[in-house]
Assembly symmetry: C2
Homo-oligomer: 160 residues x 2
DNA sequence: TATTGTTATACTCTATAACTATA
DNA sequence: TATAGTTATAGAGTATAACAATA
């Protein structure tokens, strides 16, 4: 079979979907935020973890996993990376001898503040085309999509 | 060091960022669309590829890679998967003996139509809380973020 | 019994280097 | 010399099973 290639490629059918465009938008965000966090030796996921630890000092690893929707086994290396960089300490829980309490160090608190400022600048760059209210509405719409996903685990079986 | 764990964990600081909430929203979308595509033996990326091939019959693999922002090496196994399922054929280009033209089969066109309907239903489920105009605005905002990313490869060096 | 942290493991997704055959 | 398809490979990111210590 012999066919000539079209000159201009379109993705019109996929563009009707919020999911497709969101994937492309998030790709752009990930690339930019990764660059923004590199000077702090933080990745997206380690920055998120550090932020939650600073905001909730003393939380257990399993609580961090729940908050960030990360499986417990994957938390171990992630927290160890923060410990290795001197940003977080693993303290023994006073109430449960199985558990570890995650506490930010002074360096961790400071790095988190500066990284948060860098990420805020990145986020403003990416949403520069949006008005302040539009940006707020975007975040609210994304939250509503996140919430929509929470009710769909059974996937149609219970919809009858 | 002994610390008691907080009872309620928050991620308030991260919630100010469109990127963080978008990641969580997209996680929900990915889980739901993956389930929606499973009956067709399609993954997110193979569905996107099939859709572009049906919309642009005869395009070359490198054009498909450009359209979907996928590196050329990763296109090979992806297209082979569509060929194996009888949805796409690799035809020889009539103008360039190096190139392959990707053509959908009749089954491919039909499967694409039915999968597109399933994905449309999924997309409506996920955006059920949004009005029709709000949903359109969401997609436009996501496009503007995607566009913002295209200008930022150099990362601040040229901003001076 | 159930839960916390952990190890080992595997699977997907994505990115890079280098080869071949053509242009 | 550049490009199209390809191979091999490596690194993230993420998910599951199973274990020891403790509740």
């Amino acid at each position: 079979m012999m066919v000539a290639a079209p000159t201009r490629i379109t993705d019109q059918s996929l563009r009707q979907f919020a999911g497709y465009t969101m994937k492309r938008a998030f790709n752009a965000i990930r690339a930019d935020v990764t660059a923004a966090l590199a000077p702090f030796e933080l990745r997206m996921v380690t920055f998120s973890a550090l932020s939650v630890i600073v905001e909730n000092p003393g939380l257990r690893q399993s609580q961090l996993a729940d908050a960030l929707l990360i499986e417990r086994p994957n938390i171990v290396a992630l927290v160890d990376e923060l410990v290795r960089h001197g940003l977080v300490e693993k303290a023994k829980s006073s109430t449960d001898r199985r558990a570890l309490s995650l506490v930010p160090t002074l360096l961790g608190v400071d790095s988190c503040a500066r990284a948060t400022a860098a990420v805020a600048a990145h986020d403003r760059r990416m949403t520069a085309a949006l008005s302040s209210t539009a940006r707020t509405e975007l975040i609210e719409m994304l939250k509503s999509i996140e919430r929509a996903g929470e009710g769909l685990q059974n996937d149609g079986v219970t919809t009858a």
